[in-house]
Amino acid sequence: MGVEGIGARVVRKEDKRFITGKGRYVDDIKLVGMTHAQFIRSPHAHAKVKKIDSSAALKMPGVVAVLTGQQLVDDKVGNLICGWAITSKDGSPMKMGAWPAMAPETVRFVGQAVAVVIADSKNLARDAAEAVVVDYEELPAVADVHAAIKAGAPQLHPEAPGNQVYDWVIGDEGATDAAFAKAANVVKLDVTNNRLAPNAMEPRAAIADYDAAEEHFTLYTTSQNPHVARLVLSAFYNIAPEHKLRVIAPDVGGGFGSKIFIYPEEMVALWASKKVGRPVKWTGDRTEAFLTDAHGRDHVTHAEMAFDASNKITGLKVKTYANFGAYMSLFSSSVPTYLYATLLSGQYNIPAIHAEVIGVYTNTTPVDAYRGAGRPEASYLIERLMETAARQLKVDPAALRRTNFITQFPHQTPVIMAYDTGDFNASLDAAMKAIDYAGFAARKAKAKADGKLRGIGVSCYIEACGIAPSKAVGSLGAGVGLWESAEVRVNPVGTIEILTGSHSHGQGHETTFCQLVAERLGVPISQVSIVHGDTDKVQFGMGTYGSRSAAVGLTAILKAMEKMESKARKIAAHALEASEADIVIENGEFKVTGTDKAIAFPMVALAAYTAHNLPDGMEPGLKESAFYDPTNFTFPAGTYICELEVDAGTGKTSFVNFVAADDFGRLINPMIVEGQVHGGLAQGIGQALLEHAIYDANGQPVTASFMDYAMPRADDLPSFNLSHTTTLCPGNPLGIKGCGEAGAIGASAAVINAITDAIGKNNLEMPATPDRVWRTIHAA
């Protein structure tokens, strides 16, 4: 490792501009002649749109247009799509209702757009939006998943009778039933995984710019995957062919999954910019973010786990109802199926698993992937079950986990995943040591003497990251391949540009990706720049989500680097009159091994471009690209242990300690990894204690602002005690597993297990608000 190579705690290159306010976000961009969009949104959870009267608005000064859903239909703009086909257990395809970008006939959640005002300024657009009169006929609405599947419930889409999108199963039901029939003990648990609002710091935004002369669109937008956005906008929405649409995702202030998806607003902005002949900007406000950014989680689950007499797990049965909201968002269908049920084996040897997932429409904001996406729901369920089992079987929770850990790799689970490597005992040991697990009983007793309820909770999570092998996900219904691309461009002076299909919106790629180059060539990272987020610069890419950018994106860069180095080595050997096999790369030089003969990397680059003295037949230039398709998922895993105290008088939780022992494989920049874990833990703890997107029975959102939706603040969180155990991922040459989502996946169960341990009652739903904990303590 050099000072800036793999494993170095290099300070983030991008932070100078972020910290000094020089980042360039979509809303910072101003185009000549730019107009501003204000959407008119439904105040009703379910209603017919009877009439839209925009006559008064159109007479207001500065108003350019008022456009409606019917005009979208007239212009044959396509409906929003869901990109992962799921098949129900009866063999039928999932049942989807149409999702137009603006509703021409029926609105199905509060906040759904019915029309848009385009005006010379944002304020004029808002004024005019208030002058548009929309006549609605209210319809009965349903927000709760159980209410939605009852006979007689309000129906959202004629295509989906009973509001059911699919009834999907995985695993061997017969083998699972047989395991339960022979079980010595069965542990049962009902859990709700609470709905969350993602709340990236930067709200979504879009600027669409149509060039009539070239018939070309440019879209600046807050996207985690600008190429996927371009593909979907071109292939499905009839906006423009791919070569006539450039998508730029500049600095993006956080995504957490919510900026993967194509939303109505950017579609409408593109369409509107052609209609009005001027650029159209839309920047969402926080209320719009609460109402329209795809929410996360929202599962209701019943699970049962079978044990034999030696406390080995013999079977697992799971039935989950997943609330999808009013429409199927881009990857929503995959979240409670292939991203959830395939992780139900956890870190454990479970011979038989059967899971059934019923996807349900409700009159709420659509739900899709949110940091972890299915894996937090799986991990929370399994780790609550393990803790419940330990209490019921009267064994130490850590010991019960150890009894059931998978220790031989590779390990094929009964639910598709083949774990490649891991050492679950190592991370459990590290976490137990860090928190002094052995000393807990004494600490609990002392706390009790002081009038405090102290608890400890363990969570041993596993996730599948590095998504994904294209062939595998294609066979499971994915509409896209999940490889990544990279290009290495060496300039004649030897500086290097890395073009990547990954997108950084907080992950620090501009630093970590440079570290790979520094590691391989020994050049300073100041000589390397990372180019991303522009479909005109980077040919194609699948973007950043699912903790894939290092495991997949960086591996693509490595492949391109290897090609570039191979050519550079030939050039160097030719210049040094040496055998190519004798060339080694060190400290920015190509050396003939065992001699003092060397040529600096910039001279190799210059030689490639002057082309005065290249080996016979070699093309000039030094630029190589690669596509990398992973061979398997990666499996980050670890143990989180939380120790806390509950105030019996108020139900309030106070952290004593929180330790995380993660196995992410090789770390590129441990400082950035720690930051990722901190952020993930904050979200996991936020879900456990604070966050909940709530609707009333009529589908009205109750938590549409920070006055009601409790986002975690720094003082809600403990100082984290982080450590790493390492097994290198055998699936990629760098041995990387991914670290972006682990905290959000593993933390919630540790917190709830600790609170339930403290209060001595097992049934407690998230978020464990003080009110809820107090009522649980004092319940009969």
């Binding site: 008088g649 139900g651 709530i694």
Partner: protein
């Protein structure tokens, strides 16, 4: 935000005069409620008259048995004021718990009590300490000032200039913060005046806004100690209930916060 006309008053008289000249003016102090409401287009004052830059309205002074906080003094200044910490430490502590740092740097005591949010901190302090609200027209006791949710005794155009607090024998404040807004989910201020009167006020709990809690006052009059409150029953009837706290929970919090406030008061 709708268009409005901003005025920066340099004196209380000028502010009052500006108010009289406009049709639908609002006074602006720290703007911690008014500005978000205006941004959401839920308020549309024709004129906004900024009181926050009037020098005579900023400052904390202790004199004899009275602590005076001028109306445009930000919470941060009160929380860190030596005079406030010495005279009524529970009140400086209260100010330190309001909102978050951004709110404490901008929000003012005058703005807080004029708004009289049912979960605001200051109303509990004023009511329990038996403070007097000074305006450009008169003096109003805290007992007469707070009139229910977002309602006060202030007349149209009347400007709060200061709040004066009699220094108590003992006082304490305990707050359960609302997890999202950081207002009081329920908070209780307890005070024992130098003449021996016991006053207890709860905020964030009642559907009527800040209220005295006679049952706890009676218990503390008999025995000034946390355990004296053990036997008190607080009815959940008339208390707020929402996603962050049922009325039963708030009833419990009134007791628990009162006990902790008494413990803090010593």
């Amino acid at each position: 935000m709708y268009q409005t006309t901003y005025h920066r008053a340099s004196s209380v008289d000028e502010a009052a005069s500006l108010f009289g000249k406009s049709s639908e003016a609002k006074f602006l102090a720290g703007g911690q409620t008014l500005l978000p409401v205006m941004k959401q287009r839920l308020a549309s004052p024709s004129d906004v008259i900024d009181l926050g830059k009037i020098k005579d309205m900023i400052g904390v002074e202790a004199s004899g048995d009275t602590l005076t906080i001028k109306a445009a003094t930000p919470h941060y200044d009160v929380a860190t004021s030596d005079a406030a910490k010495k005279a009524i430490p529970a009140l400086a502590y209260l100010a330190s718990l309001i909102g978050d740092p951004a709110v404490r740097y901008r929000g003012t005591i005058g703005g807080s009590i004029a708004n009289n949010d049912p979960a605001a901190d200051y109303p509990a302090g004023l009511l329990a300490l038996g403070a007097t609200v000074k305006t450009n027209k008169r003096s109003i006791t805290a007992d007469d000032f707070f009139k229910g949710l977002f309602t006060t005794a202030l007349e149209d155009g009347e400007i709060i200039t200061a709040v004066s607090f009699p220094v108590p024998a003992k006082a304490g404040y305990a707050k359960m913060r609302h997890p999202a807004s950081r207002f009081a989910l329920t908070a209780v201020f307890v005070a024992q005046t130098k003449s021996g009167e016991i006053r207890v006020a709860a905020t964030g709990a009642s559907q009527s806004g800040v209220v005295r809690v006679p049952a706890i006052e009676a218990a503390l009059k008999a025995n000034w100690s946390p355990s004296a409150i053990d036997g008190v029953t607080i009815s959940a009837s008339g208390l707020l209930s929402d996603i962050h706290g049922t009325s039963e929970y708030r009833a419990n919090l009134i007791k628990v916060m009162a006990q902790r406030a008494v413990a803090a008061a010593g």
